[in-house]
């Protein structure tokens, strides 16, 4: 495993699915993440909490994936919440001034209360 690998694990709850991410969301990892999240949406899982606490790097490829997934879940009446984003990663959203496109929560527990 290289340091750029991204680990993805999912946990289904009654009202939503939590997707735990750990690693780096770069141009290599983003297509696989995009594929897995679309698989969930295709299964009708459109309320997604992305546990970002373990993500220490994101590039535009990762942001692009989140833009596409946000649009897809909203189109089906769901929502995507980014939970526990660390400062270094939050800075990328702030830099692009697109933080208002996304819903953030400080933790998975806080995200669950938003659903």
């Amino acid at each position: 495993m290289s340091e750029s690998d991204l680990h993805i694990s999912t946990q289904d709850k009654k009202s939503h699915t939590t997707v735990k991410l750990a690693g780096q969301i770069d141009a290599k990892a983003a297509p696989n993440l995009n594929h897995k999240l679309h698989e969930l949406i295709n299964q009708g899982k459109t309320n997604l909490i992305l546990d970002m606490g373990g993500v220490d790097y994101i590039s535009s490829a990762g942001i692009g994936t989140f833009l596409a997934i946000t649009k897809a879940v909203k189109g089906q009446g769901g929502q995507m919440i980014l939970a526990g984003v660390i400062d270094e990663v939050q800075d990328v959203f702030d830099l692009l001034k697109i933080d208002q496109v996304f819903t953030f929560a400080p933790s998975v527990a806080a995200a669950e209360k938003k659903l």
Binding site: S2, E3, S4, D26, A27, K28, Y57, S59, S60, A61, I63, G64, L67, A68, T70, K71, A72, D87, E88, D91, V92, L95, L96, I98, V101
Partner: protein, 134 residues
């Protein structure tokens, strides 16, 4: 100080370049830039390299040179692909983001962080990126 790395135009090698750049920024510029600024510089360089890997049809290699000057960091990225001037690429609009589109996001990040100059010479693209030490 001047250090160079040449990689073949592949995604795995662009990750290796990021690791190298991260190490260089940490070792050579730790006192010049805050951790946040170093992260931003690393991101911008990753975006510049990834853009060549993703979109250049003809490039075979990418050469990255990192120079330390008294008041700035200078990074020169050279590829042997078809002409492409990122400075002329339009910035994405918010409406595009809301539609789930991400075209031009990487270049937008790059130009938000670094001063950029583009030139074409000897059938190569030269992208010179600088950031002043504040």
């Amino acid at each position: 100080m001047s250090q160079s790395l040449t990689i073949p135009k592949t995604l795995p090698k662009s990750q290796e370049a990021r690791t190298w750049l991260s190490s260089m920024l940490h070792s050579e510029f730790a006192e010049d830039f805050s951790p946040k600024e170093r992260n931003r510089i690393l991101l911008s360089l990753d975006e510049a390299i990834t853009n060549i890997v993703d979109h250049s049809q003809q490039a075979s290699t990418i050469e990255i040179t990192l120079e330390r000057h008294n008041d700035s960091i200078k990074v020169v990225i050279v590829d042997d692909g078809e002409p492409f001037d990122p400075l002329t690429y339009p910035a994405p609009a918010m409406e595009d983001h809301l539609q789930g589109k991400d075209h031009g996001l990487g270049i937008h990040i790059l130009l938000q962080i670094m001063e950029a100059q583009y030139s074409r010479s000897d059938n190569k693209n030269y992208l010179v990126l600088t950031k002043k030490i504040t």
